[in-house]
Amino acid sequence: MVKQEFPPLPDDLKIYRAIVRKTGWFDPYTKKIDAKAFKLRLNREPDPETNISMAFTPVEACNAYKGKTFGVIEIKVRDIRALGLDAVQTSKSHIAIMNIPINEKDAIDFAIRLAEKARLLD
């Protein structure tokens, strides 16, 4: 559990995630966000990923990737909570989408639902 050092995020807040691969994070035929953008990296070494990293602004979302990003995804906190998940501030500039079950099937299920609620910034 993450210690709740920060107040709950408002429902109407929009939060952001960088697209870090040129292909595969959105459907090349419809240009809609694909589940890959929100899929937990359960094969990550040494520890599986347990939450999805988000940021308060598009610029902050891209900061960690040294300019090698290919777009930014936007999603509302309200839409995340509607899926039974939560978006929690974990540091000054970091938000985590939490409560995704740590197994492959649920990780894909929730990634698809999150992707359906997200949009690619123009």
Binding site: K22, T23, G24, R41, I112
Partner: protein
């Protein structure tokens, strides 16, 4: 280790030994089987599987696979994970797409490839009218399983097969697009 680069120049197939790091898709237009003969020359003993013979959807799906390997990143990993697929995942993906195209009894469905953070490859098919979805996860290394995920909005359920056969994938694709 040397690699053989294949190119076409004025209707001649040119095979050159190179030590340059090539993308896997350097070989994308033709598959050749060659034999090593003395003096660093190579002889083509069979040439087959010209991709142009396949359907347009197959080509587009294959093209998306080539694109995930088309990276200008010099490092094999970055902050997110692998920047290109492993050779194992790449070769297995090509084989799986080829096997599916040989088994499937209708037009090859339009899919696309996506790189996994560990160097594995995911291939995704979506039925845009039903919103059903099929995803196969091709492992990065030998010893891991090929998994199949099916989302069927008809019954509101999804299912994951942690170890799938090609036959099961073909049946699922036929169901997805029926």
């Amino acid at each position: 280790m040397a690699t053989i680069a294949v190119s076409i120049q004025e209707d001649n197939l040119l095979l050159q030994k190179t030590y340059r790091k090539l993308n896997y898709n350097s070989y994308k237009t033709i598959r050749v089987i060659i034999s090593d003969v003395p003096d660093n020359n190579y002889r083509i003993i069979n040439s087959s599987s010209v991709i142009n013979a396949q359907s347009s959807n197959y080509q587009k799906t294959l093209q998306s696979l080539f694109e995930i390997d088309n990276t200008d990143c010099e490092e094999d990993e970055d902050e997110w994970g692998a920047t290109r697929p492993t050779k194992y995942a790449w070769q297995l993906s090509l084989e799986i797409l080829q096997q599916i195209s040989e088994q499937i009894r209708f037009d090859f469905p339009l899919g696309f490839a996506s790189l996994e953070s560990d160097g594995g490859i995911e291939i995704i098919w979506k039925n845009y009218s039903t919103k059903n979805e099929l995803r196969i996860s091709i492992p990065s290394h030998e010893g891991s399983n090929l998994s199949l995920y099916i989302r069927n909005l008809g019954n509101g359920k999804s299912k994951l097969f942690a170890n799938s056969s090609i036959n099961r994938i073909v049946r699922a694709l036929q169901f997805l697009y029926q």
